[in-house]
């Protein structure tokens, strides 16, 4: 069953050079993107700044509509006005800055905001809030004020807020860019758990290559197009191509690549330190 599907999706932004005229010049941000993400998949999207990642993400819950082509979320066309709220409820979005997405003064009220707006009955709201806080490990903070939480905790509250809407899919646009190392780990662990235990489809956009090695599949974007797709193992073997695209590979993968170049007989695309240790032990 496909969760997210796009067919030749293109998107133009309008740039207004001249303040007087209302005639904008179209600039192509997405170009004929065709992808298919299955229910329950964990997919990451990589690409340099301006490659079209965020524009793509915003099409996946109908914040933007295609200039050309089509986007379906669980078979619903995002251009269909009647389906808009169904789509937004099914595909929840998490943004970069935790401070921009928290609105209530108490954690549990913030998490309840989504289901409240959907008209969920009060008792069920409480059930959903309880379970969302439990799932993200934030139950102990339910009566706290969000502004006293760390960045990683705030992002987990934002995830709990999306979770309370019982989405089928969570789209995260650089959710860890502003977090410290432990905050990054917390957020990643939380979404992987949701993916594993609840089968929620996850689409993660990030600049940290270490964060994507456990993904089922990666898409690499450049100039509005998807230029590479495959498993982390398949793609991270292509170190030079990544560098040409303004990207990097995980630090361990880079070390493996360098050691191989210097003459050590190592396999391609070593992703974790465990793999590296094992490979080096075998050479001994």
């Amino acid at each position: 069953m496909s969760m997210v599907r796009t067919d030749a999706l293109s998107h133009d932004y309008l740039i207004y050079e001249d303040e007087e005229s209302d005639q904008g010049t179209p600039v192509r941000a997405l170009s004929e993107v065709t992808i298919d993400i299955r229910e329950g998949e964990f997919v990451s999207i990589l690409g340099h700044n301006g490659s079209g990642k965020s524009t793509l993400a915003k099409h996946l819950n109908a914040l933007l509509l295609p200039t050309e082509g089509t986007v379906w979320i669980e078979g619903m066309d995002t251009k269909d006005d009647d389906k808009l709220w169904d789509i937004r409820q099914r595909a929840g979005m998490i943004f970069q800055n935790p401070d921009n997405q928290i609105i209530a003064s108490v954690v549990e009220e913030d998490v309840a905001f989504g289901p409240e707006n959907m008209g969920v009955p009060t008792q069920e709201i409480w059930d959903r809030v309880n379970s969302a806080l439990e799932r993200t490990g934030m139950t102990a903070y339910r009566e706290h004020s969000p502004n006293r939480l760390s960045g990683g905790q705030k992002q987990r509250v934002a995830i709990a807020g999306v979770l309370a809407m019982q989405p089928k899919c969570i789209i995260m646009d650089e959710p860890t860019a502003m977090l410290d190392p432990v905050g990054r780990k917390e957020v990643l662990a939380a979404v992987h758990q949701l993916n594993r235990e609840l089968g929620i489809t996850v689409i993660l956009i990030t600049h940290y290559m270490e964060e994507v090695i456990d993904s089922d599949r990666l898409f690499v974007m450049n100039k509005g197009r998807v230029v590479m797709s495959g498993t982390p193992k398949e793609l991270f073997a292509r170190v030079e191509e990544f560098e040409e695209l303004g990207l990097a590979v995980p630090q361990i993968t880079m070390l493996g690549y360098e050691l191989k170049k210097a003459g050590l007989d190592l396999p391609d695309a070593i992703l974790t330190r465990e793999e590296m240790t094992e490979a080096l032990c075998r050479l001994r």
Binding site: G47, H48, N49, G50, Q96, S150, G151, G152, E174, A177, M178, L179, D180, P181, V182, G183, H207, M209, E210, G246, L247, A248, P250, Q251, I252, M254, L255, E258, L259, K261, A262, G263, L264, R273, E274, M276, T277, L280, C281, L283, R284
Partner: protein, 289 residues
Amino acid sequence: MSITLENVGFVYGAGSVYEKTALKDVNLTIEDGEFVGIIGHTGSGKSTLIQLFNALMQPTTGKVYYQGKDIWGPGYNRRELRFHVGLVFQYPEHQLFETDVMSDVCFGPKNQGLSKEECEHQASLALSAVGIGEDYYKKSPFELSGGEKRRVCIAGVLAMNPDVLIMDEPTAGLDPAGRDEILDLISRMHKNRGITVVLVSHSMEDVARYVERLIVMNDGEKAYDGTPREVFRNYEELEKIGLSAPQVTYLMHDLKAKGFDVDEDASTVEEAKTSILKVFGMTDSSGES
């Protein structure tokens, strides 16, 4: 003895119900020409600390000295100080406000009281240092990419010819190429102009690669202060305070545990490579640095 903090404490909202201690009894000296990294979990006091360096905030207790003078002493010219100690905030592109790149970079020198010609001269030197060419001078800042905007902001501070450059997470939100571009630029500036650099970062890999000295903040106190190798040796303690060591440092410890005679303090890909090759009786012949 460029910047010295002596028993510095800082309390937000003192006396109110929101009272929060951000810094406790911090003592440190940043020497002229050093390249210093500051790491710490969110809320550890990093941002408060750097705002004390150029007198944007006044310590609740203790003293801050610049070149030996108490910057909160009577008659001290703090406006002048801010020209010497330049601060680039987090997400500085949110502070671009002029209609074109040139005017934005001229804002600093204009406030220093320079003539229009001098301002533009300073601005073009700064812009060329960050690799922004003349074809960009008349562009609106909003037409630039994320990395370009960030470089224009850095030029805005450089145009004032500061002796100390303080940057709060200058690479947050940038892609790997943009990250390297900014860090290489800062590193060049440090080498060529001898400018003192203080870099606040959440990327352990970045600080390991670039800085000479690393200060770790935890709950408003200085937890470690040393070379990156020395600091990352305490990786277990660093994890307890919301940080980590670079990936390769963990790998080196794993290898050591398996009986390989490797340099377990290696904190960059280069160091790890050299050490592993040595164990296998090989030398690095690729000639790359």
